[in-house]
Structures are given as C-alpha cells and as structure tokens.
Symmetry: C2
Subunit: 129 residues, 2 copies
C-alpha cells in the first residue's frame, strides 16, 4: 500500500501520511516491514515449539546468543515457568527435527521438550486498536 493510498484512507495528503509513518518508524512503533513467506513453499513442512531448561541451573545465561546461529530457530522467548526459554522452529521433517534437537542440546547445554504443530489456524493477527 502506497502513502497515497494511506492518505486516502486516513483523509490526509500524501506527504502528511508519509510524515506520520516516518514518525512511527523513528519512535520505534513500527519496527520494520516484511513479506510473509509460506514455509511449505521453501520446503519447511514442520513447525514445532521447543521448551528448553539448562542441565546446570547456575550456568551463564547466554542461551539466546548461543542459539542465534541456528537458523531453524525462528523465534526465541525468555519465559517464566518450568522452562527457561521457548523456541519456535521450522524444519523440513521429523528427521530434521531430530538433528536440530541434538544440536540445540549440544549448543545450549540444555534439555528439550518439543511440541509439534499440526496446523496453524491463524498467526500474527494484527492487534485490535
């Protein structure tokens, strides 16, 4: 959608719409723009959530950084509860998940608990304003 269109929808001129968006970007309210790619379209048929817990409770807690190099991890959340982190991963199949789990355990020094996603009725819906 163009600034011209945004202007029409909001009853503003093109340049006013552009200025508003620029302000939202500068404040950090808009973090970026992205194309939503269908994972199946690039061979990633399997999505899973993985909870991780360190084996040794008093280790340095730099798991997010250590795990960042693993491309299959699309999201990393630090959580309160039984686990320390919750990861969302995308892989080709269960064999690839098995390999990935071993890698996560090795890199992170953690135990894992996986939840396979069967389907995604909806995801990343825009917040209601």
């Amino acid at each position: 959608m163009s600034y011209t269109d945004i202007g029409k929808e909001t009853g503003l001129s093109t340049s006013a719409a552009q200025q508003r968006v620029r302000r939202l970007e500068q404040r950090g309210a808009i973090k970026g723009y992205h194309a939503r790619v269908a994972p199946e379209a690039i061979g990633l048929e399997l999505t899973a959530f993985i909870s991780i817990k360190p084996f040794e409770p008093n280790q340095p807690d730099d798991h997010p950084e250590r795990l960042r190099e693993i491309d299959e991890i699309v999201s990393c959340y630090s959580v309160a509860g039984d686990a320390n982190y919750l990861l969302k991963v995308q892989v080709a199949n269960t064999a690839a998940l098995e390999v990935l789990l071993a890698r996560i355990r090795a890199v992170g020094g953690v135990s894992t608990q996986s939840t396979i996603v069967l389907s995604t009725p909806y995801e990343d819906r825009p917040p209601a304003i």
Copy 2:
C-alpha cells in the same frame, strides 16, 4: 524496497523482478506484506503463551473458530501433545491477562496453562535459504 532495487540485487530488470514477485504471490509462496508494530507502542506490555485443553474430550473441536473473536489472541496453533492448542496472546498487564483467561475458558470450555514471556531476544527471523 522497490522492484527496481530487487532487480539490482538479483541482476534482473525492473519488470522481470516484478513478474517474479507476482508469481510468488500468485502461487501463495508470499502470503502478504506487513508492518511489524511494537506491541508496547500500543500499550500491550505483556505477551504470554496459553496451552488449552478441553474439559470434555469428546466435544466438537471448533476452538480456533470460537476463539477467533478474541482479539488478544494473536496466534493459534493446533498441537500434538498434552494440550490441544497453543495460543499466543498480547495484553496490557496481568490484570488484563486474568480477564482474558476467564474469557478463553468460558468461550472455549477449556482449561488453560499460561507461560508468561519475560523478553523476546528475537522473533520471526527470516528462514535461511
């Protein structure tokens, strides 16, 4: 990024770049385009994951549709494991989460188990190609 820029990066003409993107869109490989909005910027300070399980195992399984009306639910995953669905929600604070949980239980006829997100080191990283 413009088609002209994509063309430069891929060594294609503007119209060839545009045609390729159009094809990806038509095949469904690109599902759409979105601005990433910082939830805190609109007063949503608390993110949580909620696992839900029906009280009565042999109920009609239309939870995603029944829960769709709840705007605080940003994502809904059908999962294999202890729970039936995993929801990602965004609310203002713990009080709002409490209200939301009651609503989810009522609408869904389900029990809930919540995991609060403390921070998000990264989210929705692009898949490595």
